[in-house]
């Protein structure tokens, strides 16, 4: 539409029929991502998680060095193993809570309505928020990993750097997968409190209950080893754990018969299978969240 006429308003020129004033899909998505990223940087939860993760990472690094006589043999490898359990507890919690608060929080504050009244699509809003939060969480962990790596590099050189790098990659994938799940819960919930509660329940289920359930199921139903493996890697935390161990060039025998079966059956492609499992956990919950958010309409 073209400008038809102009007038004065408080001494400013007003176009009575201005251009449409809408922007490209990518531009809006980036605008949301940037806002979400900077909002996260200035929020208390981001600071808290970053400090906690950094302190724990450095602590694990020092302890792993102490365990190897401070001589640095396999310093990164030991730290990777030490960080594994810490990551499995902290990262899903952080990402699930961040995702759960995203849409439900906007909805509860009433800001979602206002955002949807702007020339944007729901896809742009959701994807923009996801990207912004994802980058913020990865940066938060990156600080922890960076400090940990600095401690190790200073004391132990670069031994095991490859496995440590793969730990970072898998951790980012785990964080993005949990963020997807959190956003799905957020889309489904009317209130951020409910979404957060569901997020905490999901965390508890994935971290603790699924292992117990798998053990119980194996005994009760006399599952075969391949069935146990298939069920185990459905849990993104198990996929993450196996993926990191495989990339440490360690044998999955430490995980018992299931690990041996996986190593023997899938060989070198196991790492890719586990990575794809995590990618699936990124894509499917986010896709479902997107479909529900767009199709249901309303606020």
């Amino acid at each position: 539409m073209t400008t038809l006429s102009t007038d004065q308003f408080h001494g400013h020129e007003i176009q009575t029929h201005a251009g449409p004033g809408h922007t490209s899909r990518m531009y809006c998505t980036i605008a949301f991502a940037k806002r979400e990223f900077f909002d996260a940087l200035s929020s208390r939860w981001f600071l808290l998680y970053t400090v906690a993760f950094s302190v724990l990472s450095i602590g694990v690094s020092y302890m792993s060095l102490a365990g190897s006589g401070s001589q640095g043999f396999a310093g990164f490898g030991r730290t990777t193993a030490g960080l594994l359990n810490l990551i499995m507890l902290v990262v899903p919690l952080m990402a699930l809570i961040a995702g759960a608060g995203s849409i439900a929080g906007e909805r509860e504050r009433g800001t979602l309505l206002y955002l949807l009244a702007q020339p944007i699509t729901r896809t742009e809003l959701l994807i923009g928020k996801y990207i912004g939060l994802g980058i913020a969480i990865c940066c938060s962990m990156g600080i922890g990993f960076g400090l940990s790596a600095a401690v190790l590099a200073f004391n132990a050189g670069g031994v095991g750097l490859g496995s440590f790098s793969m730990l970072i990659v898998f951790t980012c994938m785990l964080a993005l997968a949990m963020l997807s799940l959190g956003m799905l819960l957020s889309v489904l919930s009317r209130r951020s409190g409910i979404a957060t509660g569901l997020g905490l329940f999901s965390w508890l289920t994935l971290v603790f209950l699924s292992d117990l359930g798998l053990m119980a199921g194996t005994v009760l139903f006399k599952l075969r080893v391949q069935e146990v493996f298939a069920i185990a890697i459905i849990n993104p935390l198990q996929a993450f754990k196996m993926g990191v161990i495989v990339n440490m060039n360690a044998s999955l025998d430490v995980l018992g018969p299931v690990g041996s079966y996986a190593s023997r059956t899938f060989g070198d492609s196991l790492s890719w299978i586990l990575a794809l499992t995590l990618v699936g956990w990124i894509v499917f919950p986010l896709g479902l969240a997107l479909i529900l958010f767009c199709k249901r309409g309303g606020i």
Partner: protein
């Protein structure tokens, strides 16, 4: 500019907007008038494509549901509840909305000057007064200089001077040729700003008139809310309308406007029709239009007129 055809929005079994059709030309100014629950806010949200609905609504030819982004690009929206991110600073907040509309930082600065908010950029949104938040919402609505401005009870949270400021601002916008569509409870605003009024009642469009037709009398009017026995509101409304009174229904009683010295008339009419009144409240007085003295007369009620109800669309 705006075309609504048989718009229906249901929440469960409740029809919040019920088969509403109207057209609004460029540079026209339209008020949505009705009680709480009449469907004004829902209709605005449908027009913006925020709510899915049955029927069709277009803004300058862009379908609100199929091409919502394009339709909304033509609209600046000021909501009833001002919801911003409270922790954000005013400057960053408006720059974000400028970005969403493909505008530059200089546009944000310009529009802040227009609404007298320059110099407050570093303030957090939560520290702004209600009037300043209202002006911020207006600034965001104007940032891309859209041809249509939609406002949902823009003065409901403001004091008298704040209301006057907003009404003056909107008057100037109207003079510049903007198309205005706003929901209001206040006859002074409607009279000052609107060229047409759509009267909504329980989601239905019951009248499409000018403000002068809605308030033709120069005498003071009194608004009375009646609660009938056995909640026989529909039949009561029909009786009162046949007697030439304008009645407004919203599920919380039946509001009638009468000259202040004839407050008993509705009850007499209902008694003659064997409809009992179990309770009544006298609401605010509407002053004559000529005095333009509505400013401190907030009503949550109705269109008042001594016209018959025979001009329903």
């Amino acid at each position: 500019m705006i075309h609504a055809k048989q718009v229906v929005k249901k929440f469960g079994s409740m029809r919040a907007v019920d088969d509403v059709s109207f057209e609004l030309g460029a540079s026209e100014s339209l008020a949505l008038w009705g009680s709480n629950g009449a469907g004004k806010t829902t209709l605005i949200r449908c027009l913006l494509g925020i709510f899915p609905f049955a029927g069709q609504a277009t803004i300058n030819g862009h379908d609100a549901q199929q091409s919502g982004k394009l339709a909304r690009a033509l609209v600046g929206y000021v909501p009833q509840e001002l919801s911003f991110h409270d922790d954000a600073r005013l400057g960053r907040s408006i720059q974000f909305f400028a970005k969403l509309r493909g505008k530059r930082k200089t546009d944000a600065t310009r529009v802040l000057e227009m609404v007298d908010l320059q110099g407050h950029e570093s303030k957090r949104v939560r520290d702004l007064s209600g009037g300043m938040k209202q002006r911020l919402a207006l600034a965001i609505a104007l940032i891309a200089d859209p041809p249509v401005i939609m406002l949902d009870e823009p003065t409901s949270n403001l004091d008298a001077s704040g209301r006057q400021e907003v009404v003056d601002t909107l008057s100037r916008l109207r003079e510049t040729g903007k198309t205005l569509l706003f929901a209001s409870h206040r006859p002074d605003e409607v009279h000052t700003l609107a060229s047409r009024v759509l009267v909504l009642e329980r989601g239905k469009l019951v009248r499409d008139v000018t403000p002068k037709e809605l308030w033709p009398t120069h005498r003071s009017l009194q608004t009375i809310r009646l609660h009938t026995n056995e909640d026989n509101d529909d039949q009561a409304a029909s009786v009162l309308r046949q007697a030439g009174l304008t009645v407004n229904l919203n599920g919380h009683g039946l509001c009638v406007s009468v000259p202040h010295n004839r407050k008993g008339e509705p009850m007499t009419l209902l008694a003659q029709a064997s409809i009992g009144v179990r309770d009544f409240e006298i609401l605010e007085e509407l002053k004559p239009i000529e005095s333009h003295d509505f400013a401190d007369c907030p009503i949550d009620t109705l269109a008042t007129s001594n016209q018959s109800h025979g001009d329903q669309p």
